[in-house]
Amino acid sequence: MLRADSIRLSYRRRPVLRDVCLRVAPGEVVGLLGRNGSGKSSLLRILTGLQRPDYAFLEVDGRRLRLPYREDGLINLLDQAGTHPHALTLACLLMAYGLESATWLDRYPDFDHPLDVRFGTLSAGQRRLFGCRLVLNAATRYTLLDEPFAGLSPHMIDAVLTDIRRLRKHKGILLTDQHYARVLEMADRRYCLIDGNLRPFKTEDELRILGYLPFTGDGGPG
């Protein structure tokens, strides 16, 4: 199990994450919601070692880790802001994630691009979908997806959701998204990041109470 404890992060003395604790077990999907700028992306980057926090205690199966990304087959991340290098070919990217081209084409028969084209020649949505599928299919125990559905068409979103459903048995997945309904649907456990604290929730009504969703006209939840 991946366990993070006491994660603290501040930007220019403004606290963003306050003693955040989180655990992700293989075989489960954990959903993470939060307003823009609440620190979701930072939390995911800290969990992989991409960003340095003020303090963080990270451990996997009881073993403390400082830079989880260096561990073989442990964790990977689809960053919200980042993209894969446009100059690399699709075949190179598959190789980078330890995936076989033939297996890929068998798994995604609808994928109609030759694998020798550069990643940058795909459209933005196709790049996002391809990147999503790369990190999901890579042989890691944990995959962190930072707003994977951003910029995807409904068909592509459905394709990613299908992949998550298929691969959730094999790995722990931490998923953030602004479309809370998808997180509610996919996640086994759900958290909302409010004022730097991680609050568990189960229903849409609880999201209103937490202040993530606006209240409806009658003033009550729902």
Binding site: T48, Y69, D79, A81, G82, H84, P85, G98
Partner: protein, 103 residues
Amino acid sequence: MATGISAVRVLWWYGRGFLAAGTLVSAFVASELYQYGAGPLRPLLYFKVITTLIFGYYAYRRQRQHRFFYHNMGYGSARLLGTAAAVDGLLFLLLATLGYVAG
């Protein structure tokens, strides 16, 4: 996540522009040493150091949005840039020595 991919290949993906530009500068320095001997060595060294810093900064900026990709393969960008700079430095030493000795 390390995928068993060769470190040399990852280094090439990350730093090929940096290495190509650095090698061009090293070749220029070697040709100057070949023609004029060790006389202009100091300004040539300054030139190499300054261009390396500029190319390094450019490589860092260029790869910044791909950081997570290299992390996914188990390599931090500081480590990759440091290794690329070390390779560039070794190539520089080799070419400069060859240029000086041949001249």
